[in-house]
């Protein structure tokens, strides 16, 4: 699509208004709550988060997207540039303005930090994100963990690139002030629940449930490379590629997506049919923004979580909003690009 158009389609009819969050462990809650596994599923209690925008959209398209999100059933919104420091349609102050707007609309806004920190100027931005006290911070690199610790912040979110794979590491992050962790996308549901079962105190748990999978970061910009440009003089060619550029195998099979220095899956990680299982363990499901229909997707997840739409029907409806075929292999402990019907381990 043309990203200068409105990248969203507005809230779907019948979408519920934002609800009061129902948390298992609220920030600052006593850590002695023993919750080895989440109690019997009350689907309503699982909240929807919209992850940070991974693509580079024009300023107005980005602002419009978040303006629409203010009226959506998403309760948590992650903001900020996490992929490439050269992107500047919105500067940090602009992102903070968006955060304030969403907070006024009753959303919980979170500032996400850049995953790959290379330069002193990257660190400068990071320090500013940590220093602002209005919004919680998603730490996507250990540099952020250190700075948050130094600042005495006790309310941050351990992001999906921190490589938290075992109880000891998750415990360390909680000790350092994390109250929520976003599970690494490559981790299976089984491994995640085994980890949580060993935690003496459970942090809020967030699982990526929709979107192209962020698979890798590099110093190299693959979008610039595609146009025979260097990163330092990239001409911002990723601007306006609302869902990145698809990379196909030489047999024409869509395989990966080039998004600047980030490489994503071509297929769309879609756990909507797995929601019964996911919601059993996750307090929050994350929707990753895409060029179009993000709000439709958010509304559909809310319907499923509220028990208003069944998994099969929801999956069928979701297919028209996917930019590519579905995958969910990671959740099932399989190659990430596979799709497995729910219930098949």
């Amino acid at each position: 699509m043309n990203p200068t158009q409105n990248p969203t389609s507005g809230p779907a009819p019948g979408a519920t208004a934002a609800r009061t969050p129902n948390t298992l462990v609220t920030p600052g809650a006593s850590p002695d709550m023993t919750l080895a596994a989440k109690p019997t599923l009350d689907p309503i209690s699982t909240r929807i988060a919209v992850g940070p925008l991974l693509y580079y959209w024009p300023r107005q398209a980005t602002l419009d997207f978040y303006a629409h999100l203010a009226d959506s059933p998403a309760e948590i919104v992650y903001l900020g540039e996490t992929v490439c420091s050269r992107r500047h349609e919105l500067r940090l102050d602009d992102w903070l303005d968006v955060a304030a707007m969403l907070a006024d609309a009753g959303k919980t806004a979170v500032m996400s930090s850049q995953a790959l920190i290379e330069s002193e100027s990257d660190l400068k931005t990071l320090r500013r994100i940590v220093a602002q006290a209005d919004f919680r911070v998603e730490a996507n690199d250990m540099s952020a963990v250190r700075l948050l610790g130094e600042a005495g912040r006790k309310d941050w979110i351990a992001g999906p690139t921190l490589n938290i794979f075992n109880p000891a590491t998750l415990g360390l992050m909680m000790e350092a002030g994390a109250t929520r962790w976003v599970v690494a996308p490559e981790m299976s549901g089984g491994a995640m629940s085994a980890l949580l079962a060993e935690m003496p105190a459970r942090p809020e748990t967030e699982v990526l449930a929709w979107g192209r999978l962020p698979l890798a970061h590099s110093a190299r910009c693959f979008t610039a490379r595609h146009f025979n440009l260097q990163k330092d003089t990239c001409e911002f060619r990723c601007l306006g590629m609302s869902d990145g550029i698809v990379l196909h195998t030489r047999e024409g099979e869509p395989f990966l997506t080039l998004n600047g220095v980030q490489t994503q899956s071509a297929r769309v990680h879609n756990l909507i049919a797995d929601m019964a299982q996911v919601a059993h363990h996750a307090d929050i499901v994350r929707i990753s923004p895409q060029g179009a229909h993000t709000l439709d997707v958010v509304a559909l997840f809310r319907e499923v979580l509220d028990g208003r739409t069944g998994a099969d029907e929801a999956f069928q409806r979701s297919t028209e909003w996917m930019v590519e075929r579905a995958c969910n292999g990671f959740w099932h402990g399989k190659p990430g690009l596979e799709y497995h019907a729910p219930g098949c381990a």
């Binding site: 490589n163 000891a168 693959f222």
Partner: protein, 336 residues
Amino acid sequence: MTQQKIELVCPAGSLPALKTAVDHGADCIYVGFKDATNARNFTGLNFDPKAMREGVNYAHARRRKVLLALNTYPQAHNWADWTAAIDRAAEFGIDAVILADPGLMTYAAKTHPQLRLHLSVQGSATSYEAINYYHERFGIQRAVLPRVLALAQVEQVIANTPVEIEVFGFGGLCVMVEGRCALSAYATGESPNCNGACSPGKHVRWEQTPKGMETRLNGILIDRFGDAERAGYPTLCKGRFEVNDETYYALEEPTSLNTIEMLPDLARAGVRAIKIEGRQRSPAYVAQVTKVWRAAIDRVLADADHFTVQPAWMAELDKVSEGRSHTLGAYYRPWK
């Protein structure tokens, strides 16, 4: 100014490779156990306890160090395998363990406070703030930098941390930030982070077809080679793909990192160790590469200002390079 010592850190996937590295002048040899606790978990590779003891004895008798890579991320169900590996490292007299997982660092620091800790490249620490976190929290003494920083950025890291910095000098080039790459997991289900394998051999298929030699990874076509082309291993970031109808190496060419020409700069920047990639390679590779880098480092330590790259060194190194070509990678800004 006196030049600080720069250690040459060489790979060994077997006891013969370890001995070869020692004999050809490596200061440190890094190794792994025969399991998923390290990032080169390949069939037929690595050390069982007997080989490990012998290797450590061989190196120590010649005043060289043995470093153990335990640089994958354990999970709840296999946690005990990793802690047992740390216990064995301490028992065998390993000189340092190379770790990526913070939970495991806690265990090592608590259980074996005398054991020296290095931060693996798989820890993805690209800034001094990240490195200093591991230093303050676990007392790591050295960090291996991911292959993403330009030289000036390496200098900036060194100027702001008490931790010794080790950089990759030569060998297979990860184009992605190490520890942050799930491409192999996406395609095959086996990840560098958790299984210690990238593009693992058991998922590889070579097929001669009318269109040419095709290489596949778990059924996915990674590349196709004409008769005149040398078919390379299907490491998935080094295949040819189609983007907007253009077929090319969309992520990276099959090429090796070779920073030998930057050695004086790296020395001046204060780099304390140069790592050679390739535990999966043969003892012959280890011999060749160790010999050349030993000579080059000795030359730099003697007189960095008059260092010149010997054409014979480059010829030797290119012979064992992936795709028989080399790059400066991210050290050279235009590469990015």
